[in-house]
């Protein structure tokens, strides 16, 4: 009975959504060339950043990114707070049994390459797809591989939180530096260089690198916390 009601409600809801989005008018009445062309134009001419999405994420809508980083920070902190237990076993292992020697040898071998891949992704955030979030996530995934392949691989929570704090402070500080130099928060106050060079885009790659460090530290901490959770 409950299912029937739910399905009926969903049908109504879906009908409205379908009428909205599948209507040809929905495309026909669209009117948004201004923003897109402005962004594409200014990204090349002023910011000298090849990747427009990066330019939007870090510069035009940089405030969102600050909020987003904060959301991740909050999520990692909240995870620690929610799963908090009073007795804390120091000798807790993340995994119960050792992995096969092939898996552990392979992870050891591929781990630096994964970290390098992450670093590559966030250093080239303004040139190729990707950036701080993606790079940070890749690095965290690398740590995840090590954590599940080795029983005695441990990361210091303090180191993680120091990295995280410094990256976050760096982000806000760069924003405030723009505030002091150019007049607005997060303003691009550094020289922009030549399009498609590694050193271009002014403050954008710097902020994305900081975001990369921060996301990597946050996600690694998150995984580390949740892996230590034994039911």
């Amino acid at each position: 009975m409950k299912k029937a009601i739910v399905i009926f409600l969903l049908a109504v809801f879906g009908f409205f959504l379908a009428v909205t989005f599948l209507d040809p008018d929905f495309e026909a009445e669209r009117n948004h060339n201004g923003v897109k062309n402005f962004y594409l134009d200014k990204t090349v001419s002023q910011l000298k950043t090849a990747n427009t999405v990066t330019a939007i994420v870090v510069n035009f809508r940089g405030f969102d990114t600050l909020g987003e980083v904060t959301v991740l920070f909050l999520a990692a902190t909240a995870l620690g707070s929610i799963l908090f237990k009073k007795r804390h076993h120091i000798g807790d292992r993340t995994v119960l049994m050792p992995a096969s020697s092939i898996v552990s040898a392979g992870s050891k071998l591929i781990f630096p390459a994964i970290i390098l891949l992450g670093a590559y992704v966030f250093i080239h955030g303004h040139l190729t797809p990707g950036g701080g979030f993606q790079g940070g996530t890749i690095i965290a995934t690398g740590f995840l591989l090590m954590l599940i392949a080795y029983r005695d691989f441990s990361i210091s929570h303090n180191v993680l939180s120091v990295i995280e704090s410094f990256a976050g402070i760096g982000f806000v500080t760069f924003g405030l530096l723009g505030f002091m130099n150019g007049g607005t928060f997060l303003q691009n106050f550094m020289g922009t260089g030549v399009l498609n060079d590694l050193i271009s885009g002014g403050v954008i790659p710097v902020i994305y690198i900081l975001v990369g460090f921060k996301v990597a530290a946050e996600l690694t901490g998150l995984i580390y916390t949740i892996l230590h959770e034994k039911g």
Binding site: R30, G34, N59, L74, A78, S165, L186
Partner: protein
């Protein structure tokens, strides 16, 4: 220029990232730094507010791109008014909980204060931002801090309340995103002023669909009727001061977002009636539920939801008097409800259930706290010499101007309900004998907590005896909200003066 609105967001975030570092060096700093930050925010927003009133609305652009393209923050008489209240209440809640968390471990205390600070910062962000997607991000910040704060205590049913809140919160965030998608695809912009200026170009059908999704999206924070199922549980299960923070800070931000959306974004006459309907339903359902609650905090939570409904009804009238009454009600509620929560949580200290019967006869053991509780109850039910009276009067006269007799009658009946359930508590508090078996163990309230309560009581009395001290501010704020064209001009004209 004393500072910039952007510091209202940047400073708490900076501090949140700094606190773990400070905590490694000096443990006490995790309690002190958030307080300093909140005090600074209160100072900053108050001084900005005064500046705004005397000169002109501040529109802060970010990253050097003018409004239609970049994100902008708007610090107007209205947002300044709300921001000042919210930061001040954040400071009060911090003050109250400063020693409250001393018996908790260091790690937990650190997290508690980070969440509290970011809750305030996120709510301020919701209010001052001028960009709908940015508002979504801030709603998520508020949301996650609120989930974490709700689930703060282990051993209660807090995780359940938080989970309920989370499900509703993320569904509503999805609805908000759909609304943003519709608006962006039709108008090609995310800036509120630009949307407001171009809303007439939008197909009315899509406009209504987008508006419905917006209402669903913001309704969870604003505690409107079908979406407020989380509120009573979350208020009950969260630590005492957090209930105050939810009702005094988060709900205000939600209401603001809703009203800004209705008045500025979708400036249509008809849907205003929606607000009245939603508000009335919320009000009636909440107040009748409050009548049969046995737990103190749950009762306060329902009362808080009811007040939000009242505010929405007042906004729904759409007139100057109505908006004035609504803002006045918001101010009152923002001060009185935290006062009730804070004193109530002193009265039921260290219990998990917080039944009303547990405070039987506590007035003799903790007279000062009890008197403050009564003061709050009287203020919120609208007894003459206190602040609530003036706001209810403003509300009734606004309704009378519009000849909304039905609403007036409803409000009067609801007020009787309120009186009944608050007096039930007061009766137990004062006119029953203290009983060891059911009542809680009285304890000595902390010094800081008492200061927080006294400050609130002082404000309630001050507004009660000199309502003219705040009506001027509220009047300006109401003008600001109603004047959509001025908002659009202020935001977009700025763009023409600072051209990249």
């Amino acid at each position: 220029m004393v500072g910039s609105p952007v510091l209202l967001i940047a400073i708490p975030l900076l501090a949140a990232f700094l606190i773990p570092l400070f905590g490694m060096v000096w443990k006490e700093s995790v309690r002190i730094v958030p307080g300093l930050v909140l005090a600074y925010l209160t100072y900053l927003s108050a001084s900005l507010y005064i500046e705004v009133i005397n000169t002109d609305t501040i529109v802060e652009i970010i990253a050097g791109w003018r409004p239609p393209w970049g994100i902008n923050l708007v610090f107007s008489p209205l947002t300044g008014f709300l921001t000042t209240i919210m930061t001040f209440m954040g400071f009060i809640v911090w003050l109250y909980s400063y020693r409250f968390k001393r018996n908790v471990e260091f790690e937990a205390a650190k997290k508690y204060f980070i969440f509290l600070m970011l809750l305030v910062a996120g709510s301020v962000g919701i209010v001052i931002t001028g960009d709908i997607f940015n508002q979504f991000v801030f709603i998520e910040i508020v949301g996650i801090s609120a989930y974490a704060l709700t689930a703060f205590y282990t051993g209660r049913d807090s995780a359940e309340a938080a989970f309920k809140y989370l499900i509703m919160g993320s569904l509503s965030a999805s609805a908000l995103l759909i609304a943003i998608i519709i608006i962006y695809s039709q108008l090609g912009t995310l800036n509120m002023a630009e949307i407001a200026a171009n809303i007439d170009n939008m197909n009315p059908y899509y406009r209504i669909i987008a508006m419905i999704f917006f209402i669903i999206g913001i309704g969870v924070e604003a505690e409107i009727f079908p979406l407020n199922g989380w509120a009573p549980d979350a208020y009950t299960e969260a630590p005492g001061p957090v209930g105050g923070a939810f009702s005094g800070i988060v709900a205000k931000a939600g209401i603001y977002a809703m009203v800004r959306m209705m008045f500025t974004l979708f400036d249509i006459a008809g849907p205003m009636k929606i607000l009245i309907v939603i508000g009335l339903i919320t009000l009636i359902v909440a107040e009748t539920s409050a009548l049969r609650q046995e737990k103190l905090k749950r009762m306060l939570a329902y009362s808080s939801i009811g007040q939000m409904g009242l505010v929405l009804v007042a906004f729904g009238m759409g007139t100057k008097a109505g908006v004035f009454a609504a803002l006045f009600l918001m101010l009152n509620h923002a001060i009185t409800k935290p006062m009730l929560f804070l004193s109530g949580s002193f009265l039921t200290f260290n219990t998990t259930e917080k039944y009303i019967k547990q405070i039987t006869g506590m007035a003799k053991k903790m007279p000062v706290v009890s008197i403050i509780f009564v003061l709050g109850a009287l203020a919120i039910t609208g007894f003459p010499p206190f602040s609530g009276f003036w706001s209810k009067m403003a509300f009734l006269s606004a309704a009378a101007d519009e000849n909304l007799l039905f609403i007036m009658a409803t409000i009067l009946i609801i007020s009787i309900f309120e009186v009944v359930y608050y007096f039930r508590v007061i009766n137990r508090l004062f006119f029953f004998e203290y009983d060891d078996k059911i009542s809680v163990e009285p304890h000595k309230p902390g010094f800081n907590g008492m200061i927080a309560l006294f400050v609130l009581a002082f404000i309630v009395l001050m507004i009660g005896f000199y309502p003219s001290s705040v009506t001027g501010f509220i009047d300006l704020a109401a003008d600001d909200l109603l004047n959509t064209h001025q908002y659009i001009d202020k935001v977009l004209q700025l763009g023409q003066t600072i051209i990249q």
